[in-house]
């Protein structure tokens, strides 16, 4: 069962990866002008250079050979040059942004899932009480709040009016940090608002999901038996939670994907120097090679997060109830 589960998830990951790669390959080629001629126009490159670039990227070859070359280049990091920052290599531009995205999205994923599941467990356990109603109703109300809007309002309140938290960047620009600790504090200080904005909105779907799952589990026979045996409520709750968290955990993969994917907007609002903000910048400057590479990197991050969550699920659920539940 475990093998079947892992194999099917691996297969899905590969299919998703292939779709991303294929789109990344086809979309730029459907546009007028190839990268070499665009660079040539923009920077008045000599004919010889253009010829070399063309043959290097195999732009003069048939499409299937280009595809093979493209796949090769994905693994060697030869991702071409930025239109905007020529002659800087795309690979370099993307890689210096990646750690910031991992930091921001990793932190957010952690806070969102923890807060969301805790509240969901509480609401489900106290079903029908005022605690349940207030948690569930506020989650429903928050569910449709655009996180970038909340982010903007938090910026206004904490950044412009109260001046407690910075509204942009990942570290104070131009600051010289005396020690690593001071640097870390600066980074955390810049992390506060983006993490807060996403957490305050994205926790809602986890909470609703966990609550419903908790409600389901609490109606099951084994809980009835546990209560009939006279087990203390604390133990009953432990039994219930262990089972109730499984469905939210399967969804964790997809939700993580959504949160990380949201980086494009979160990072743009906070001018946070991650891959998502790079996507925004490259759209503005029509810097297509960078757009593709940044998208590729973000997609890989999402796929990796998905797979990690699948592994986590496999580790937590001893049965690996991998039933295709429509």
């Amino acid at each position: 069962m475990l093998r079947h589960f892992l194999l099917s998830r691996l297969l899905r990951m590969l299919v998703v990866f292939f779709i991303i790669v294929l789109l990344n390959f086809l979309l730029p080629r459907a546009m007028p002008g190839d990268p070499a001629s665009i660079l040539a126009n923009e920077y008045n490159l000599p004919v010889e250079t253009v010829r070399i670039l063309r043959s290097m990227w195999k732009l003069d070859r048939p499409l299937h050979e280009q595809f093979v070359a493209y796949i090769e280049s994905l693994f060697t990091g030869q991702w071409g040059y930025s239109y905007k920052y020529f002659p800087r290599a795309v690979y370099e531009l993307v890689m210096e942004r990646l750690p910031w995205t991992l930091l921001l999205q990793g932190t957010t994923s952690l806070t969102v899932s923890t807060v969301g599941m805790l509240l969901g467990v509480l609401a489900g356990w106290r079903r029908g009480t005022r605690a349940d109603v207030s948690i569930t109703v506020s989650a429903i109300l928050v569910y449709a709040v655009p996180y970038y809007w909340l982010a903007l309002m938090l910026q206004y309140a904490f950044g412009y009016v109260l001046r407690i938290f910075p509204v942009a960047h990942a570290v104070t620009p131009g600051a010289v940090h005396a020690s690593f600790l001071e640097y870390a504090a600066d980074v955390l200080w810049h992390l506060a608002l983006p993490v807060l904005a996403v957490t305050l909105t994205a926790y809602a779907s986890y909470t609703l999901m966990t609550r419903n799952s908790m409600v389901d589990v609490l109606e099951e026979d084994f809980i009835f038996v546990a209560r009939a045996k006279g087990l203390p409520e604390r133990i009953v709750m432990k039994h219930a939670v262990r089972n109730a968290l499984l469905p939210p955990l399967t969804m964790l993969a997809i939700r993580l994907g959504h949160i990380v994917g949201g980086a494009v907007i979160t990072e743009t609002v906070f001018s946070y120097p991650g891959v998502g903000y790079l996507i925004y910048e490259s759209i503005i400057y029509k810097d297509y090679p960078v757009l593709n590479a940044a998208f590729f990197m973000l997609a890989i991050t999402v796929i990796a997060a998905n797979f990690a969550a699948d592994l986590l699920y496999a580790a937590v659920d001893p049965r690996i109830r991998y039933v295709r539940r429509g």
Partner: protein, 284 residues
């Protein structure tokens, strides 16, 4: 049809949250229909000095080129409602057909649909939507098609699950026994029972369509010729509205998105709860 209507009204008046959602939607629909009356200006016309603070003449102030923000807001409700209804509607047709086929026919068709749904769920949808919108160019209908393309899988999943449980019911078997054809069973006997669930999902899907369209417009990937709420937010952000203390410029369109989204969510949940009673607050 009359019974569906009665059922709908019944659902609404028994469920306070659903009623609240319905009222919100009604209010915004009125705003969209009466936009010409409610808005004092043409939202595309320059009617005052740029960056005017809120005043009697301009309740929310003017934007960076001197257009009235309140009029932009009023007309923006049309765009959000349009996107919120069309995208999930197209997605539902596609998803329902695939879900019906997959659940009823089984076999290879089912394998394929289930696999495709699984892949769709795992795709990094927002980055993908952003990149597609960047390449396809800014047009509202392109965005709607992209959203529909990313929305069908949810419908297919829900419909398939329903069909699987319905097809073994005695009345379906009876229909099969008297010689009803496959398509007839699917559309005449199974589909009507799936429709309430599809309706719930269309209404719920509206929220994410509205949020995504606004997000795309906010990123500058929206249709610049159409004044949507996301577009207002984009101008506010580009014009450093918050920096200058013009917070209403950001607050009101965002609140519009949030309220409209909440309206759809509440109504969708009310319908869903009716279809699936275990989600209720109280034990019965």
């Amino acid at each position: 049809m009359r019974s569906i209507l009665r059922e709908a009204l019944h659902t609404l008046f028994r469920n306070k949250l659903g009623l609240a959602g319905f009222s919100i939607l009604l209010a915004f629909s009125l705003m969209a229909v009466l936009a010409d009356v409610l808005a004092s200006y043409d939202p595309y016309e320059v009617v005052g000095p740029p960056y005017s603070p809120p005043s009697d003449k301009f309740p929310l102030g003017t934007n960076d080129i001197g257009q009235d923000i309140f009029s932009e807001f009023v007309y923006g409700s049309r765009v959000s409602l349009y996107v919120g209804l069309t995208a999930p509607l197209i997605a539902s047709v596609l998803g329902t057909l695939l879900g019906l086929a997959s659940g009823y026919l089984g076999g290879l068709v089912d394998e394929f649909v289930v696999g495709a749904v699984d892949v769709m769920l795992a795709l990094p949808s927002l980055p993908l939507i952003v990149v597609l919108a960047a390449y396809l160019g800014p047009s509202l209908n392109n965005i709607i098609l992209i959203l529909a393309f990313f929305g069908w899988s949810g419908f297919a999943r829900v419909v398939r699950a329903q069909v699987l449980s319905l097809r073994e019911r005695p009345y379906v078997e009876a229909a099969r026994a008297v010689g009803a054809s496959g398509p007839r069973i699917m559309f005449k006997h199974i589909l009507p029972h799936v429709i309430p669930l599809i309706m719930a999902n269309i209404v719920l899907g509206a929220t994410s369509a509205i949020l995504t369209e606004a997000g795309l417009s906010f990123l500058g990937l929206g249709d610049p010729t159409v004044k949507s709420w996301g577009q207002i937010l984009r101008r506010a952000q580009a014009g450093h509205a918050l920096d200058q203390g013009l917070w209403l410029w950001v607050f009101v369109p965002g609140l519009g998105i949030a309220l409209l989204g909440t309206g759809f969510t509440l109504l969708g949940m009310a319908i869903e709860e009716r279809v699936n009673p275990r989600l209720r607050f109280t034990r019965r």
